[in-house]
């Protein structure tokens, strides 16, 4: 996509496409990084300084470059391309050429579109209607397709034809670093074909292994794996619509039809869903994703559909959804089981409750508790994930309040003696007169952690019968005056 940076800007504004437009970086010497076709026609080139460009064309429209947003757009487009093949990824090579690219591994997918040529036409046609000019090539190897789309004529390369087709292309079509390209050119090796006959050993000695490696990649002698956006073994079921659908009910009906297909295949493999991803491919090349997780592997279509539909509320369908796919991106073993028709399995419905709550609120918002061998009150509780079964360990047999302030609050205290319980204390603007008190319970800091003074805890009851848990920080006499804190409330 040679003009992605400028197409992106033209798209919303719908500006005249024949007006020169350039994207400039923000360095000290501002240089053009991308141009549209009209700007190239008036003689501007990427790498030119902004002052030179303005001298050539004073009416040039300049915009600052936004690499992060371009990257995000490219990623969105790659996600949209998952509608063509699950192996789609944005191209990350940016060393020598402007213009972003997308990888699509269409092996095994092309027949769904009536052949490779038809797929290519469909892809380019759609991108073109969306305002993105693009060039594409299909070849045996990823490297050849990369070169042919950018430097060659584009389109189909016959199987096995890359050796002849690439021979006439410049060496910059090989995804080499600029220094290597310059050095090769100095040696007179300008075309890829010039490299075919060269002895590899001196080439490697001079340029490292990159040149030979890229050449082999382009010719298909070395396999080049793409790193797709999706995990490869994900189970994907897809549905395409003749006319785009836009109503929430239609989308739900389509999902309800797809879900059993996924689950049937999982059942055959004795797997259950841990995370389900629903991709909605919109007409305007955007892709909406809905993902739901379960706390344990599940094949319950009713429960999973409920989780999905909870998240589909208020879905933005844009101008319509043309296809959707449902993938089980995380799975876990779940053997087939004979279901008991008479009694509903209660552990199953607890898991459903946890999934329902967790997908809306976030799973960290659900907690279970277990004792955590520490004598400090704030460290005595271990928080467990909601699916965990806490060990039936008892808590230490101590008087502890059911409410513990996460941050102890300072209180003003009147105590007759430095190590006596308080007589009066003021907390949150209220004066409490102590009727009865119990303590102190001395809790020393954990010596293997930070240096912290010991605390003396007192259980006090005020004139109304309300009971509080106060502590004095430090040993008597160590602090003057002693500092007191409110840590909890007994019921």
């Amino acid at each position: 996509m040679p003009y992605l940076s400028t197409d992106r800007l033209n798209k919303p504004a719908n500006a005249a496409p024949d007006e020169p437009l350039a994207v400039a970086d923000s360095g000290a010497h501002r240089r053009l990084v991308a141009l549209n076709r009209a700007a190239e026609r008036v003689g501007l080139r990427p790498g030119m300084s902004v002052t030179d460009a303005l001298a050539i064309r004073p009416s040039l429209r300049l915009t600052p470059s936004q690499p992060a947003e371009e990257e995000a757009l490219l990623r969105r487009l790659a996600e949209w391309c998952v509608g063509y093949t699950p192996y789609a990824a944005p191209d990350s090579w940016r060393e020598t050429i402007n213009g972003a690219g997308l990888w699509l591994d269409i092996s095994g997918c092309a027949h769904l579109w009536g052949g490779e040529t038809a797929l290519l036409d469909d892809l380019l046609g759609r991108l073109g209607r969306l305002g993105f000019s693009a060039r594409a090539a299909v070849a045996d190897s990823a490297g050849a397709a990369w070169a042919w789309a950018r430097f060659g004529a584009g389109g189909m390369l016959q199987p096995g034809g890359q050796r002849n087709a690439l021979a006439a292309l410049p060496v910059s079509a090989l995804r080499l670093h600029p220094e290597s390209i310059a050095a090769l050119t100095r040696l007179g090796l300008r075309r890829i074909g010039d490299l075919y006959g060269v002895n590899r050993a001196p080439l490697a000695a001079r340029f490292g292994s990159a040149v030979g490696f890229r050449l082999d990649q382009a010719l298909g002698d070395i396999d080049e794996p793409l790193s797709p956006l999706r995990p490869i073994d994900a189970l994907v079921v897809q549905r395409r619509f003749v006319t785009p659908i836009g109503r929430g009910e239609d989308v739900e009906a389509a999902v309800a039809a797809l879900l059993p297909q996924v689950l049937r295949q999982l059942e055959r493999r004795q797997l259950g869903v841990r995370r389900l991803l629903l991709d909605l491919f919109r007409v305007d090349a955007a892709c909406r994703q809905i993902s739901v997780g379960t706390s344990r592997p599940s094949r319950d279509s009713k429960a999973l559909f409920r989780l999905l539909s909870l998240k589909m509320d208020g879905l933005d369908c844009g101008f319509g959804i043309e296809s959707l796919s449902l993938s089980a991106i995380e799975t876990g073993p779940l053997p087939a089981r004979q279901t008991d028709l008479t009694a509903p399995d209660s552990s199953e419905s607890v898991a459903q409750l946890i999934d329902g709550l967790g997908n809306r609120l976030g799973f960290p918002r659900l907690q279970r508790f277990a004792p955590a061998g520490s004598h400090l009150p704030e460290r005595a509780v271990r928080r467990l994930p909601p699916g965990a079964i806490p060990p039936p360990e008892p808590w230490p047999f101590l008087k502890r309040p059911p409410i513990l302030l996460s941050r102890p609050e300072a209180v003003a205290v009147t105590a007759p003696l430095p190590d006596a319980p308080p007589l009066l204390f003021r907390w949150r603007e209220t004066l409490h007169r102590v009727r009865a008190a119990e303590g102190p319970e001395r809790l020393a800091g954990e010596w293997w952690r930070e240096q912290s003074p010991a605390r003396d805890y007192y259980l006090v009851e005020d004139q109304d019968g309300d009971r509080f848990w106060l502590y004095r920080l430090g040993l008597p006499g160590e602090f003057t005056p002693a500092r007191w804190f409110m840590h909890g409330m007994f019921s």
Binding site: L353, L357, G362, R365, R368, P402, A436, Q463, G465, R467
Partner: protein, 247 residues
Amino acid sequence: MLTLAQLRHRISALEGAPDLASGHPPAAPLGLAAIDAVLPWGGLPAGGLHEIRANDLRRPAPALGFAAFCLGRLALQRPGPIVWVSLRDDLYPPGLAGLGLPTDRLLLVRPARSSELLWSLEEVLRSAAVAGLVGDIDGLDFTAARRLSLATRASGVPALLLNRGPALAALLTRWRVSALPSESLFGKGVGLWRWSLTLARCRGIALVDDDQAPVWHVEVQDATGGFSLVALSQHRSSEQAGQRRAG
């Protein structure tokens, strides 16, 4: 011709009161005969809302303690997790265990926003696998309370609402709780927890005004075989309140 019993049955169905014949598990007794005798169901029934509020909203701890105690009683009645839904993060399980709550069955649900609180409560109440629920709320409007009431009637999950806001509608019972000064055996230190419990509303009993609501003074005891309430002196006898029961 309708018999009186049939008529009562029909009225209670119209009122939405839980019905012993509806297949829900029986009510959970609070373990103090004087209170259980006044409650028409013999305890806290499943399938309805129970409001627990502090007498003085600035002193919420005793109400929270009573809610934890009641949840522990509900957990004795049926299996499954007990759920506590709250926006706060100051619950301390070792202290809850000291009120008879089985913390190994406790699931804390902490929505981030108050807009998610009602949804969470309803979601929990729709799941029949739950043994009981405490919802820490700050008032609910009539529609919301009605929704929760319908959800608990459908699933049979007992719902205790620890309310820190304006009083609720669509309730089976409303309890007001405050602390009472404790009495230590040895005259020193702090004794067992004592509460004053007021049954401010109860469906099936006509409570004309607050002054006539039954009040109990109780002490929480960790007796062998579980926690229980022990009656202290009473302001009004349960027999008096029982006589005011109207069909």
